[in-house]
């Protein structure tokens, strides 16, 4: 039983379940979950910063950077290998995050939120005018290859899904370890009391800069996957409403559970897909009402529900023993 309790083994079991689900789902479901997981990766980065009290309304910047790097490499340089495109997208997003992180991490509250949004909108504006990158039409990406293997149709969707699930489980496991680590606890303390943390000898700015860079890398990774899954990238990836979605998912999930972030992202995609199908002109209203309900009933997000459930299970098991 102790095997089942360790984080890597739980991740492995989750990976097998998710891969199995992929084979059972229809193609539209596979696509929807792939996109939701890609966006979940970006929201995971957002949560890493929210744990330290910073809410970024500009994660679209890294999402868009990752997607455009993949698009540019695929179209202009002829690279199609998904591993290479992911590495390049994450690398460039991380560099952008490493440049902006130390600057933006000195700001707090609404100033940080607005500055992060502003930087993202600068990219949106620049891409909209960049004819070499397709201007407002963006770039259309060819299907990716997997170490030379080039699947098509449903096989491509499934390969992309399994690739995404692998990254999501790996990133989720690593981020869970980070959240539970000494750095993770210091980040939570920063959210509560920066003065105390500085007077204990830790650098608030350095800690939050590291979180910022991690969030940028995850944003870039999510962007590459989304770009390849959709087969198209355009400046909307950096638009403020896209960044707003990541904040929406982060609020919906809360900061207690990594799994909740991906569940919240799937819920958002489901609500959006079905709402736009049945109420094409008012789907945002349905989304707003849904978020309102979650905030009223679960102010700490879906993750708090999962935490309560796991506590109750632990208490029940203890009682039985």
């Amino acid at each position: 039983m102790s095997f089942l309790k360790s984080l890597p083994s739980r991740s492995l079991i989750l990976f097998c379940i998710l891969v199995g689900l992929g084979f059972a789902m229809p193609t539209w479901g596979v696509f929807l979950v792939t996109i939701a997981f890609a966006k979940g990766l970006v929201a995971l980065g957002n949560v890493a910063m929210m744990r330290g009290g910073l809410v970024s309304f500009g994660q679209g910047l890294y999402y868009c950077t990752g997607a455009y790097v993949a698009g540019f490499m695929a179209i202009h340089l002829g690279f199609s290998d998904i591993f290479l495109l992911c590495l390049a997208g994450v690398f460039v997003s991380t560099i952008v995050g490493a440049i902006l992180g130390p600057i933006l991490s000195t700001y707090r509250g609404i100033f940080f939120a607005m500055l992060s949004l502003a930087v993202s909108m600068i990219l949106y504006g620049a891409l909209s005018k960049a004819t070499a990158l397709g201007s407002t039409d963006g770039l259309t990406l060819p299907g990716p290859t997997f170490l030379g293997f080039a699947p098509e149709g449903r096989a491509l969707s499934l390969h992309l899904y399994i690739f995404t699930v692998t990254l999501v489980v790996a990133a989720g496991t690593l981020m869970r370890m980070l959240f539970d680590s000494e750095r993770g606890l210091i980040t939570l303390a920063i959210k509560d009391n920066e003065l105390r943390v500085e007077y204990l000898g830790a650098s608030v700015r350095a800690t939050m800069s590291v979180n910022f860079v991690i969030a940028a890398a995850l944003g870039g990774l999510g962007g590459v996957i989304a770009g390849l899954a959709i087969g198209h990238v355009d400046p909307e990836y950096a638009y403020w409403t896209t960044s707003g979605e990541f904040v929406f998912v982060a609020i919906l999930a809360g900061h207690f559970s990594v799994g909740a972030i991906f569940i919240a992202s799937v819920i958002l995609e489901l609500v959006r897909s079905f709402s736009s199908l049945y109420f094409p002109n008012t789907w945002q209203l349905a989304l707003g009402l849904f978020l309102l309900l979650v905030i009223l009933l679960l102010p700490d997000g879906l993750g708090s529900l999962m935490k309560r459930w796991s506590r109750a299970t632990a208490a029940f098991t203890k009682k039985r023993i």
Partner: protein, 250 residues
Amino acid sequence: MTAVALQVDDLHKRFDAVTAAEGISVTVPEGVVWSLIGSNGAGKTTFVNMVTGYIKPDRGRIQFHGSDITALTPREITRLGMRRSFQIPQLCAELTVLENMLVSCAINQDRKPSFWHPATSKDDVDKAMEILARFRIAESSNHRMAELSGGARKLLDIAMALYGNPKVMLLDEPTSGVAAEEKFPIMDRVMEALSKENVTTLFVEHDMDIVTRYSDRVLAFYDGRIIANDSPDEVLGDEDVQRYVTGTVT
């Protein structure tokens, strides 16, 4: 000859028209327990804030074990081994008592805080609980700040600052906001814990009974200046101190 822990030379600080420090000079030897007294606005907290880097003096120099720390940040000064507690305890309200202590453990260890090492590893929890037990607040380890008494919050604030073998501790009003009957038990616990670590201690205090009982020497502040610097009996018997600080002479 006793080594010098802290040397302050000719500190000046003004906040617009208010003089918070005017030519403060003092040499604090290692291993002593001194108290800082003075009425509100006399410059005690400004002195503590300048020494710990929270505010910079307009003029003057602060040396810590021979190194000039005047221009250093609070974090850099903390890393050198000078710690402080606060008049209003600076704790993490969303975390439990144990988690607050674990934050201090995570920051103040031989290596840099890890990205992977669990913050709640058995070793770290044992260390944190040992410190909490020393301050006799271990039984509240799972409580959040809202559930703690004023005294317990003060103790936790000091316990967090004490972790990691500091050389000098500055305690800003360790018994303010604490019930009268709790003051001496709290100071007993604090002094017992500090004496085990042989930490040079300076504490700001308004209660003269506590000053007399716990300090080797007293610095009396008035109008941004030190008007007396001697043993508790001498300082509390000083006419200026009685007039401007304790209010026993009208």
